[in-house]
């Protein structure tokens, strides 16, 4: 393993891979720093640029986006008090007060080095656990895969606090998309609705791009009354100079906080669709509970910044484990990475690491190398990035949509995918307005075919339906799915009671 990793590190350190990794990390940092532009949108924008690259170059660029984006949010969180991404929300709680107290450099570098160390902890988990987990998953038959995908979907759908029915329905809508067009087992046409372009089925990438890009852009457009700019009030002459040894010592002298926050990030990353936004909040909350001076949290304490930033970067490592070992995208970013693999004819899942060791270890190496690049980029360009966030959204959004069109069109050089992009853009926006979560929908679209294929394979192998429950792993996963839904129902009622309580208190 170490030999493979060493070779991959040397390989990715070559200009051929280092250049896309650098530009991916840069794009991630800038996208992460721009409020209103998420990591998902950044990776969607970067996707078409990877079409002309070899698989590892493309995946290195995407890994860079993921790592850079997870840390980029801290720049605006600290200096403007506006989190660039949801995964930096908790960073604003102490980062911005510390910056306002005259220590912007300390706040920025505490966040940056915490991201670096948290990311490395996530990397260690990624490298050490992907192989054994994939090996475990190799023992899975169609029953286990069916149960695993159902578990992933039930978990994601159940995470919606406001309405469990909407979460489940959103996942169901995603599954409906996959039943249109053709049957993935025998290739027989079905439910084409007389539309010729549906005959080959619907690619998931234009669906994903359309749903996420339009949902986000149009949600910003509806609040536009002119060219909103950020950061106009920022003093660009502020100094971010700091003693790095002192800042690093501040982090490493709190090893339990760093490791515990990174652990929270990793675990949440492994679980599908929870993501960095939850990781940083939970880690912050834990840090506050463990602290001897919780009353100081929110006034600019280093623990708050360390907890938030180390957890959101460790989260990336956890997310990559799920996709590399099981082929399940933990979030929209890894779903795009899964799409990029498919474009190059590479099958993700438990066989991925065995069949493509160079690519798998190349991703590990890209992940590790993206961290020093991230530190370098943010360290050198943090102040200049505040100029980038002043780009008017009226100029940014049309350019992003053009890149979305290129990404959809270039998948198979047909306009069909552009029309699908538009159709699902409308659906995505309608779903957001109706309060339907997008994550279960996308997971349904991504996993739908695999759920059907494994269900049919299981029935073709043995028609006894009880095998889904009596085989130990499959049965456990089905039980976990039921438990996950039961937990969601309990959580849903608790949320409703809390909302009702809050409403009573208002009156």
């Amino acid at each position: 393993m170490l030999e493979l990793l060493g070779t991959a590190l040397v390989n990715v350190a070559q200009m051929k891979y280092l250049v896309p990794l650098f530009f991916g990390t840069l794009a991630g940092v800038v996208g992460g720093a721009l409020p209103g532009v998420t990591i998902t949108m950044t990776i969607i924008v970067v996707l078409p640029f990877t079409f002309g690259l070899d698989p590892l170059q493309g995946l290195a660029a995407m890994t860079g986006v993921y790592v850079g984006g997870s840390a980029g949010g801290l720049v605006t969180a600290v200096l403007l008090g506006i989190p660039g991404t949801p995964s930096a929300i908790a960073t604003t709680f102490d980062g911005h007060p510390m910056a306002k107290k005259g220590e912007p450099g300390r706040a920025m570098w505490l966040g940056l080095w915490a991201s670096f160390f948290g990311g490395l902890v996530g990397g260690a988990f990624l490298i050490l656990s992907t192989g054994p987990l994939a090996k475990f998953a190799l023992e899975f038959g169609p029953w286990e895969f069916f149960a695993l995908f159902v578990f992933a979907l039930s978990m994601v759908a159940g995470l919606v606090e406001s309405s469990l029915a909407k979460g489940l329905l959103s996942g169901g809508l995603g599954l409906i998309v996959t039943v249109l067009g053709n049957d993935p087992v025998m290739g027989q046409k079905r439910l084409t609705l007389g539309i010729p372009m549906l005959e080959g089925g619907i690619d998931f990438l234009p669906v994903l791009i359309g749903v996420f890009a339009f949902a986000q852009i149009m949600s910003e457009v509806e609040r536009m009354g002119g060219a909103a700019r950020l950061g106009d009030a920022v003093d660009r002459s502020l100094s971010l100079a700091v003693s790095h040894l002192k800042v690093i010592w501040e982090i490493l002298s709190r090893p339990f906080l760093l490791l515990w926050s990174a652990f929270i990030g990793v675990v949440i990353g492994v679980l599908p669709a929870i993501g960095g936004s939850a990781a940083n909040m939970i880690a912050y909350d834990q840090a506050k509970k463990m602290s001897k001076r919780p009353q100081h949290f929110g006034s600019g304490v280093p623990e708050g910044i360390i907890a938030s930033e180390s957890s959101n970067n460790a989260n990336v490592g956890g997310s990559l484990v799920t996709i590399m070992a099981f082929g399940i995208p933990g979030d929209a970013v890894t779903a795009v990475m899964l799409g990029a693999l498919t474009i190059h004819g590479i099958q993700s899942g438990p066989l991925f690491i065995v069949q493509n060791p160079q690519l798998a270890y190349g991703i590990f190496a890209a992940y590790l190398l993206a961290h020093p690049l991230m530190v370098l980029i943010i360290g050198l360009a943090a102040r200049y990035m505040l100029r980038v966030v002043t780009v008017p959204k009226a100029a940014l959004f049309p350019v992003v949509l053009v890149l979305c069109v290129i990404g959809a069109y270039a998948l198979n050089n047909t306009m069909q995918n552009v029309y699908i992009l538009l159709a699902f853009g409308l659906l995505g926006y309608a779903m957001v307005k109706g309060g339907f979560p997008l994550a279960p929908f996308i997971l349904g679209v991504v996993l739908g075919d695999q759920i059907e294929i494994n269900l049919i394979r299981a029935i073709m192998t043995d028609s006894d339906p009880w095998l889904f429950l009596t085989r130990p792993i499959s049965g456990s996963l089905i039980a976990l799915s039921v438990a996950s839904l039961a937990f969601s129902i309990w959580q849903h009622y608790r949320h409703r009671a809390r909302v009702a309580g809050a409403a009573d208190a208002d009156f």
């Binding site: 029915a165 169901g172 027989q188 439910l191 049309p398 069109v405 049919i456």
Partner: protein, 155 residues
């Protein structure tokens, strides 16, 4: 009925129509369950869930009438933005990538932030021209990604 109820009814109707269509699918002798088996499970589940959403919407409205919060959102701008993008998607195969993209970026930018004076129009034109040319150069020339050719313009 609120948005939830309407959305639930729409999904219920779509699920039932598609479910009815699966009944016409022919069974393949190679596969014991046929191509309609799995869609029926999925559509049955979505029909049940959407029915549940409609029922819970009706019941919750009976219990607590919801007070709508007034939000100042610019929906006409959203509708126009979708329309401009739809025009772009329609124009792409006829005008080709470069011209359609130039018109789209210029138009969308002007729509989202109406230019003031010659300087404002100049900025919108430069943005449109740069986006069209730079994306074409990067994707077609550098990354060898083919972009749509125009039937009317030939490029």
């Amino acid at each position: 009925m609120s948005r939830d109820g309407i959305a639930g009814l729409a999904v219920l109707a779509a699920s039932l129509v598609l479910f009815a269509l699966t009944l016409d699918l022919k069974v393949n002798p190679m596969v014991p369950v046929g191509p309609g088996f799995y869609p029926r499970i999925v559509l049955g589940l979505t029909a049940l869930l959407s029915l549940g959403l409609v029922v819970s919407d009706v019941l919750s409205r009976k219990k607590t009438p919801k007070v709508r919060e007034k939000q100042d959102l610019n929906y006409p701008l959203v509708a126009l933005s979708f329309a401009v993008f739809a025009l772009y998607a329609v124009a792409l195969p006829w005008l080709g990538f470069r011209i359609a993209t130039f018109l789209f970026v210029g138009g969308a930018n002007a729509l989202l932030d109406p230019p003031r004076g010659a300087k404002g129009w100049g900025r919108a034109l430069v943005l449109a021209l740069l986006t069209s040319l730079v994306t074409w150069l990067v994707f077609e020339r550098w990354l060898s990604v083919l972009l749509p050719r125009g039937r009317w313009t030939g490029f």
